[in-house]
Each structure stands twice: as structure tokens, then as C-alpha cells.
């Protein structure tokens, strides 16, 4: 049925015919029609990656196929969401090997975006933990792939934004944990220089991420809070926590019931928010043992938090710069601060090394910022793109709704190889999205 759909940024909104399947033969029938389509999961990428005139939803293809509790090997259909996986694996002492900042994404989406988490510098991205997966190609043939089986298909499917085919089954390795709690260390950094030093001193922490107030200038430029975490051991827990060391957090969610008017977010309110966020920590360093939920998924507690940006939506801008390009970080933060276009969230994290052709992560600093859609924003982001490229960086396709094809091409040196593999497995170009059209990924 035709309806209006958008991804998490509520920008752009398009009319699309969305159909779903529960069984392989239903998928075959959907793919039988000669129209083009793009696979779609839970719509939590931000831009136009899973949008098209026709989308095939995997949300009903969501069954758990096997779970080896001794070895931590989990296999499921691609429409299963991470929150449902956690409910099954956490009580058995296992955790997701890699998780992004929301648990409301499908496994298929995790592969197609090759998501990263706070542990990228130690554990890499999601694709590093996949044992094998099935991809249904546009010819409707189902191919199993892994780093050793059909490796080209595997390489181009991880981070390939769904363009090689529909990911239908994924088997991956979970991470063993003694408790479901996190030993969290929170450190205040007065400025960017100090923050980068702190990242270096604490590089052996499994999980790390920083929240930056990007509106501060002068001596406090880059004022931030660094969050570090380790899976807590039994001995770290309080007596009360020890009673149920693998407990699932209680479901407590607040809904954001409507779109805020766009004027609510302005330089003043964002400054106030950031001020409160920073100063609510009186101490320089706070150590606590907390549930995994607030550590990994602080924003999942507010359903539809994206409505806070108003009905025009927003763009999340995420880029990575090589480690030696710290100056680029300063330049970009300065430009944002000068422009006053504001952002609730500015999240900084360090990526470790990664070998892949189309996945976003590569060694360096990655910064993610939200920008509500305003006049002049898109032109400003085009300027930022040039700065990112000048310092040898690139942008994350899962967040993107507006970059120009040459920005992608410069940022991803293996793009030609990726396009060749997509053409090999999707020769008629029937699988394409608004994003792949815009970025010339699938035009023959």
C-alpha cells in the first residue's frame, strides 16, 4: 500500500509502496514483479538509504533460528531487532558483539550499515563478528557468503546499504559476559585538547565515547564528558545487584508524542541544555556500576526523540578523520560554533583499524552531530564536506541524506570495486534507493 515513509531524521519524506514477507516464497513473489525496490528494516538509518518508490520490509521475517548457548553462536532471520535479541541472550550471559546507540534496528540493517559501537577500537564493526549470511539476489537466487565463501558478495554486503540483495539470514558470534552490568567511568574534560589526551590514556577501555558541547569557545572549546565502560564482573556488583547478575533492565519508556515546533531549538536552548548536561556532574570523575541499558541506549528511553527536531526533520552529520588530523576536528567544530546551527548531540569516538571496501569506519576520530533542517543548512554542510575531504576523512552513508557523489567517491577509495560487485550481483540494477540514485551507486 502506498504511504509516506521517512527514516529516523524525518528527512526526506517520500511516498512508497511498502510490502512485507514472512516466508521465502513470499519474498520470491515480491521480487518477481519487474519493478525495482530497496530492502528496508526498522527505518533507523537517518537519511534516504532505505527509501524508494517501492520498499520490501523485512520486519515480518524475524524468527530466531538457532542459539548455541555454550558457544554463543546466534542465527536469525534478518528482520529481527537487536532489542529482541538482547531479551534472549542477556539472561544466558551473552551480549551483542557490537551495538550502535539504539537497539531498535534489525540485524539486516546492522549488516547493511555495518554498524559500529563504543568498542570499535577494540572489537571492530558488526561485520567482524558475522560467521555467515544468506543474501537473496535480484535474480532470486539465495547465496550464502562469509569472509571465505563468496567473499566479494560478503565484502560488498557489509556496509553496502542493501544494494547487493536482500539479506535474509545472519549467523554471528556473541560476546561472553559475567554480568549484565557495566562498570562506568565518567570523566569531565575542560576542552578538546584534554579530551583527546584522555582518549589516549584510556584507550584500553573496551567501551569509550565522549559528548562534546560544541558551542563553547575560547579556553573551554570542546568542553566534554568522556564515558568509559567495561562489562562488570560479579565482584564489582553491590549485594543487591548480585541477587540477579544477568538481569534484564525494566522496560521504561517515555514517548515524545508530537513534533516540537522548529523554533524551540535555537542557540540559546541548546546552550542551556549542554550547560545542564555538563554541570550536573560536579565531580571531575564519577565511577558507577550501572545496567547496560542506560550505558548503551540512553536515548532509547524516549521513544520518537527525533520529533524533538520538529516536523521538518533533521540531518545527522557523521564523519571520520584520520588520527593525525586533529586540526580538522578543531576547524569543523569552530565552523559549527560560528554558524550557531546547534546540535543537542555531538558525539566523539575513536575508531580502530578496519579493512573493508565500503564500511564507514577507518582509523581516526569520528564525530556525529544533529542539525535540524533550516534554510542554509545544506549549503553549510557542503562546505563542511570539503573540510572533511581536505583532511582525508569521509562520511557515514547511514546518516546521509544530502552528500554529493564526488564526496563519496573521494572518501571511499574502493568505491569502484564496490560498484563492480553490486553490478555483478544486481546486474539489472533493480535494487536501488533514493540514496544510491543520488550517489550514482546503481546507475548502469
Amino acid at each position: 500500500m502506498k504511504k509516506h515513509i521517512a527514516n529516523w531524521g524525518n528527512y526526506p519524506v517520500v511516498e512508497s509502496n511498502e510490502e512485507s514477507f514472512s516466508f521465502p516464497d513470499q519474498l520470491r513473489r515480491l521480487m518477481d514483479e519487474q519493478t525495482s525496490f530497496i530492502p528496508r528494516g526498522n527505518g533507523r538509518c537517518y537519511g534516504d538509504a532505505s527509501l524508494a518508490k517501492r520498499t520490501i520490509s523485512t520486519l515480518k521475517y524475524n524468527k530466531i533460528l538457532s542459539f548455541d548457548e555454550a558457544k554463543g553462536i546466534f542465527a536469525c532471520q534478518s528482520g529481527l531487532t537487536l532489542d529482541q535479541i538482547l531479551e534472549v541472550i542477556v539472561p544466558k550471559g551473552w551480549f551483542l558483539p557490537v551495538t550502535p546507540g539504539t537497539k531498535f534496528i534489525t540485524v539486516g540493517g546492522a549488516v547493511a550499515s555495518d554498524v559500529h559501537g563504543k568498542n570499535h577500537h577494540i572489537d571492530g564493526s558488526f561485520s567482524n563478528h558475522i560467521l555467515e549470511m544468506d543474501v537473496t539476489l535480484s535474480s532470486r537466487e539465495i547465496l550464502t557468503c562469509s569472509p571465505v565463501m563468496n567473499p566479494d558478495l560478503f565484502e560488498a554486503t557489509c556496509g553496502g546499504m542493501g544494494l547487493t540483495g536482500i539479506i535474509t539470514r545472519v549467523s554471528f558470534q556473541l560476546k561472553k559476559m559475567e554480568t549484565s552490568f557495566i562498570r562506568q567511568k565518567q570523566i569531565k574534560a575542560a576542552n578538546l585538547e584534554e579530551l583527546i589526551g584522555l582518549f589516549e590514556t584510556h584507550q584500553y577501555y573496551t567501551y569509550s565515547v565522549a559528548w562534546i558541547d560544541c558551542l563553547k569557545k575560547g579556553a573551554h572549546f570542546g568542553r566534554s564528558i568522556l564515558l568509559l565502560g567495561e562489562h562488570a564482573l560479579l565482584t564489582d556488583l553491590s549485594e543487591k545487584q548480585k541477587q540477579d547478575p544477568l538481569r534484564l533492565p525494566r522496560k521504561k519508556q517515555i514517548n515524545f508524542p508530537f513534533n516540537l515546533p522548529a523554533w524551540v531549538l535555537n542557540a540559546f536552548t541548546v546552550k542551556a541544555f549542554n550547560y545542564l548536561f555538563y554541570t550536573k556532574n560536579f565531580k571531575k570523575e564519577i565511577n558507577r556500576v550501572i545496567s547496560y541499558e542506560p550505558f548503551f541506549y540512553p536515548l532509547d528511553a524516549i521513544l520518537h526523540w527525533n520529533r524533538g527536531y520538529g516536523k521538518n526533520g533533521f540531518v545527522q552529520y557523521q564523519f571520520v578523520l584520520p588520527l593525525e588530523a586533529k586540526q580538522g576536528l578543531v576547524e569543523i567544530l569552530n565552523r559549527i560554533s560560528d554558524k550557531g546551527l546547534g546540535s543537542f548531540l555531538a558525539v566523539l569516538k575513536v575508531f580502530g583499524k578496519q579493512e573493508s571496501i565500503i564500511s564507514f569506519p577507518k582509523e581516526g576520530y569520528t564525530l556525529a552531530l544533529d542539525f535540524p533542517i533550516r534554510p542554509g543548512l545544506l549549503a553549510f554542510l557542503d562546505e563542511l564536506d570539503l573540510v572533511v575531504l581536505r583532511y582525508g576523512g569521509r562520511l557515514y552513508m547511514s546518516k546521509d541524506a544530502r552528500m554529493k557523489p564526488e564526496v563519496l567517491e573521494t572518501g571511499y577509495p574502493d568505491l569502484g570495486k564496490f560498484k563492480d560487485i553490486v553490478r555483478k550481483y544486481n546486474p539489472d540494477g533493480r535494487i536501488h534507493s533514493l540514496q544510491s540514485d543520488r550517489l550514482f551507486l546503481t546507475s548502469n
Binding site: 530466531i64 533460528l65 534472549v88
Partner: protein, 243 residues
């Protein structure tokens, strides 16, 4: 532990009901025409809920096989939920007898064939629950649901008679009449969001009503009043309306 049989377990509502009862620690028997389609749901239920779950081939239209199917179930289910049904484009069915016949036989004849057997067994044991998923479409005949609606009307009437017959025999019969539900059956229809439920909501409401031993259940509750209004329109007026 008690066991639930789901007839038509590949439908979206069937899947949701199976999961709801499994979450309440019932063992589950899944039955559908194509048994191999049930395997993923079986593994899912076992892994998520730690209950036992088996799969069985069942074709509503193969009446002669129904007795063998039911007798082979071990253990004999304590609760039987009849979810299967067929909805095709009414304009197509009107001009195609085979399609019309299949719709009637799936929604009514097949259901009666298997539920008679289940009821006989439960009456003999003086114990058991039968839950039949009918539809609000069976409450009044409309052009847009000509064959589907009349076959569901027959099914509703059957369930009501069965409840009457079974009452003294300590067998519970519940009629469920869902209104609009987001399922594959309705994926291509525009549905009003405020009146439409998800399969999971339907399953949750059915489970509660099962515990309370309800007789006739509208899902959601306001459909009872919507149908009351629709049923109170005089026929001379109703026949002129496009519904």
C-alpha cells in the same frame, strides 16, 4: 503444562497468538498447510520461551484427513485456536466459482470439520477450550465483503451454536471478532490507524479474554459498538450505501 494447538499458524494473528501463549509457558503445537514454513517459528518459540513446540501439516480443505491429524497430536491439546481463513478480492471471487468455493470451504466448512472433531474429544473429556477467530465482517452482509463476510457469518453462528452445545459439558467456546488488523491479508488496504490493531495487540486481548472465559470478544472493544450502529441501520437504507 497445558498445550495449545494453533490451526493456521502461518498467519500473522496465528504467529502472535502462538507467541503470547508460549510467553505464558504453554507448550505449543503449530499447524498449517505447509509444515516446512513453520520451522523458523518453532525454533523461535523454543529459544525465546523455553517451552516445547511441535509442527504439524494441516490442510483445512482436506476434510478426510482431519481425524487422523487430530488423533496424532500428542499430547492432545487443552486449547484449540482456529485462526486460518482466506480473504481474496471479492470482485474476483464473485465471478469465479472456484475462488468463491475455496473461500467458503476454508472459512466455514473446513473449520466446522476440524472443530467438530475437537469438540467431540473435549466433550468426552468434559474439559477443553475452543477459540475461533471469526470477523466483524460476519456481522452484516456488505458488497465489499460479500463471500468472506457471509462465510464468517456462518462460522460465527456455528461457534455460537457450539458454545450452547458445549456449555453443559464444561467445554469453553470463545468467538473472537477482530476489526481491522495490520496483517499481510490487509497490507494493500488503506486502514484507519485509530481503529486498527496489530496482531500482537489482538493476541494479548485474546489471552486475557481466555483467562476470563469470555464468550464473544470484539477486538478492539469499540468494534462491538461500531457493529451495533451498523446493524441498526434499516435494510432499505443500508442497501443503498457503499460499505
Amino acid at each position: 503444562m497445558a498445550t495449545v494447538l494453533i490451526l493456521g499458524a502461518t498467519s500473522d494473528i496465528g504467529v502472535a497468538i502462538a507467541k503470547k501463549f508460549a510467553a505464558q509457558k504453554f507448550d505449543i503445537q503449530l499447524a498449517a498447510r505447509r509444515q516446512e514454513q513453520l520451522e523458523p517459528l518453532r525454533s523461535d518459540i523454543i529459544i525465546r520461551y523455553g517451552v516445547s513446540c511441535s509442527v504439524h501439516a494441516f490442510d483445512a480443505l482436506k476434510y478426510s484427513e482431519h481425524a487422523a491429524f487430530f488423533n496424532a497430536l500428542s499430547p492432545c491439546p487443552d486449547v484449540t485456536v482456529c485462526v486460518f481463513g482466506m480473504l481474496d478480492e471479492e470482485d474476483l471471487a464473485f465471478n469465479d466459482w472456484q475462488l468463491t468455493e475455496r473461500m467458503i470451504n476454508t472459512n466455514y466448512t473446513g473449520a466446522v470439520s476440524i472443530l467438530n472433531l475437537v469438540a467431540q474429544n473435549y466433550i468426552a473429556k468434559q474439559k477443553g477450550t475452543i477459540i475461533g477467530i471469526s470477523s466483524v465482517a460476519g456481522d452484516r452482509g456488505r458488497a465489499s465483503k460479500l463471500i468472506y463476510g457471509s462465510s464468517k457469518a456462518a462460522f460465527t453462528t456455528y461457534l455460537s451454536g457450539l458454545r450452547n452445545k458445549c456449555f453443559k459439558e464444561k467445554v469453553q467456546v470463545m468467538t473472537v471478532k477482530p476489526g481491522f488488523v495490520y496483517t499481510k491479508m490487509t497490507e494493500n488496504q488503506p486502514l484507519p490507524g485509530s481503529l486498527t490493531s496489530t496482531p500482537e495487540e489482538v493476541a494479548g486481548i485474546i489471552y486475557k479474554a481466555y483467562q476470563k472465559k469470555k464468550n464473544v470478544l470484539y477486538v478492539k472493544w469499540f468494534w462491538r459498538y461500531i457493529m451495533l450502529i451498523i446493524n441498526s441501520i434499516p435494510e432499505f437504507q443500508f442497501k443503498k450505501m457503499t460499505l
